[in-house]
């Protein structure tokens, strides 16, 4: 559904992303791990168009999109969330969801406000925010903001969902609920790529994991293999930590 080949992003002489390739199929979760500064979010930015990759190819449902605009990729079925929970603060929760739903994939013909509001509401129900439809987004606590960001992504009816640290800053109970939510999104046939530091969640959710370090991929495999991989352990724990793993 989404295929990236040899993605490279240069900032001057710095290789933020160095030739990373991956693909993800409908109903699959690809985890992306790596220490801070490994280039995970920059990789996401090149996929969504927030920055244009210096080199490489990005195929979204078979269509090359490397040089296209952010909103164009969204309308083709690519949605993402951000590391910091962001939303249109002065709009209500429902207005946020409505706006995203009005650009949902495959919406045909003239825009219909009742239809778009219904689609927005349906997305809010999927994350459990329907009770806060009238609340301005600025007044939401962090867990609700994170769920709103996922709801507006779902409202665009994506084929591919990129999640940037969906568990960051959440309590243990909230992490469990979010894991359930992401599992349900996966089961609905969406291809998911998820950057995460919370290993418990990553291991439970991901079918495969790609580990990055200094912009390059150093490991691709199942979560179980990742936990046994000497290089991954070294990158995360430092040299010498690998002996007992």
């Amino acid at each position: 559904m989404l295929e990236a080949r040899g993605i490279t992003k240069l900032y001057g002489g710095l290789q933020a992303v160095a030739g990373v390739s991956f693909s993800v199929a409908p109903g699959e979760v690809l985890g992306i791990a790596g220490p801070n500064g490994a280039g995970k979010t920059t990789l996401f930015d090149t996929i969504t168009g927030h920055t244009i990759a210096t080199d490489g190819e990005i195929l979204l449902a078979g269509e090359p999109v490397r040089g296209t605009k952010i909103h164009h990729r969204c309308r083709l079925g690519l949605a993402r969330t951000f590391q910091h929970p962001v939303a249109a603060d002065t709009l209500t929760v429902l207005e946020n969801a409505y706006l995203a739903a009005s650009f949902r994939r495959g919406r045909s013909g003239r825009r219909s406000r009742p239809d778009d509001i219904a689609a927005g509401r349906a997305a809010l129900e999927r994350v459990g925010l329907e009770g806060k439809a009238g609340v301005p987004a600025a007044l939401l606590p962090i867990y609700d903001r994170k769920r709103l960001m996922i709801a507006t992504a779902l409202a665009t009816d994506p084929l591919v969902l990129l999640l940037d640290e969906p568990f960051g800053g959440l309590s243990l109970g909230e992490i469990d609920e979010t894991m359930g939510l992401i599992g349900r999104i996966r089961d609905s046939g969406v291809a998911i790529v998820c950057i995460e530091h919370v290993m418990r969640a990553l291991v439970a959710l991901a079918d495969r994991v790609l580990v990055m370090h200094h912009g390059a991929e150093i490991f691709v495999g199942t979560p179980a293999e990742m936990l046994r991989d000497a290089r991954v352990v070294e990158v995360y724990l430092g040299a010498g930590g690998g002996g007992s793993a």
Binding site: V86, E95, L99
Partner: protein, 335 residues
């Protein structure tokens, strides 16, 4: 709530109706020509401020070219009034609006490639260039700093009292129509998209909104209304000088917007009315005019960042909060 956002409550409709009725009968009971002239000029400034507030407050683009757009509306409508006297004056004013709208769209394209302070610098430079060109009076098109030549105006045959009254009503009509238009636009698909782009640009683009398309539309609508204001000013004052688009009126107008509350529907109304009254009261003390202006702006920016409308919104929410707390305390504790 199955199709509209931010629906107007019956109480607010009643308030709007009373305000419109009072505004309509006001010139029938008040005749002083000196103050009526100030009031009509204030109305035209208000139309300009409503247009500026749309692009500045709602679209969130720090566009300082608005007074040049306003001046271009005056010059282009004046050109029609002078050289094509067969064209009815209202049509000439409408032409000025359309001309300004088109120029505003053209200004939007380079402006929207920039961010932050560079947006302000480019649009400010645009305003300066237009002002210098107008001062040079190319082909006698602008009248230079002496002002645009006398034009017929909307009501060439009326006596002073009736003239002022007629302009008062015309401008009031434009103000009411634009307030309703802005209130409607605010909750329209375009308005929601604009506010979302203003709040969170990268996020909004990732939800399918084309930020540039939405903002170009905002520039066009805002420029159209500014051009109408320019044409009205020229036809009312029978003159338009290049100082009308200088730094002094620009800073006065932006102060009115900030004091009233940027991005709100009623903010320009309150800010323009308040500062027009203050400036008129201090007209014999020119030094104090600027001092009071600066001090008011400082106090608002530091203590009431949302402007007067924002302040009332905060007080309203706080009172509601107290009422809700009292209701909670009044209930017997469960168990």
């Amino acid at each position: 709530m199955t199709g509209t956002f931010g629906a107007v409550t019956p109480g607010r409709w009643a308030m709007i109706a009373v305000a419109v009725a009072l505004a309509a009968v006001f010139p029938l009971v008040y005749h002083d020509p000196y103050y009526m002239t100030i009031i009509v000029t204030g109305e035209i400034v208000l139309i300009l401020n409503i247009s500026w507030n749309f692009v500045l407050g709602m679209a969130g683009v720090w566009n300082f070219g608005q007074l040049a757009i306003y001046a271009l509306g005056a010059y282009s409508s004046g050109w029609l009034m002078l050289h094509h006297s067969g064209v009815p004056v209202p049509l000439a004013i409408l032409f000025g609006g359309l001309f300004s709208g088109v120029v505003s769209v053209l200004l939007a394209f380079p402006t929207l490639r920039l961010f932050g302070i560079y947006t302000s610098l480019l649009t400010f430079s645009f305003a300066q260039v237009i002002q210098y060109v107008a001062v040079n009076n190319p082909h006698g098109l602008t009248g230079g700093s002496f002002g645009f030549p006398e034009v017929p105006g909307l009501f060439p045959d009326l006596g002073q009292t009736a003239y002022l009254r007629a302009y008062y009503w015309v401008c009031a009509g434009v103000i009411i129509a634009s307030c309703f238009a802005v209130a409607w636009l605010r909750q329209s698909h375009l308005g929601i998209a604009l506010r979302s782009v203003r709040d969170a640009p990268a996020y909004t683009a990732a939800r399918g909104v084309n930020p540039r398309a939405a903002r170009v539309a905002a520039f066009g609508l805002s420029g159209f209304l500014a051009g109408i204001a320019g044409g009205l000013y020229l036809s009312f004052e029978q003159s338009f000088t290049t100082s009308q688009m200088g730094l002094t009126p620009m800073s006065l107008d932006v102060t009115m917007l900030v004091i009233g509350g940027l991005g709100t529907v009623s903010g320009p109304l309150i800010g323009t009315a308040l500062l027009t009254v203050i400036q008129t009261k201090l007209i014999n003390y020119p030094g104090w005019q600027l001092t009071v202006l600066g001090a008011t702006l400082l106090v608002i920016v530091v203590f009431v960042p949302g402007g007067i409308v924002g302040l009332f919104g905060r007080i309203d929410r706080r009172v509601r909060g107290w009422v809700a707390e009292d209701a909670d305390e009044a209930e017997p504790a469960p168990g």
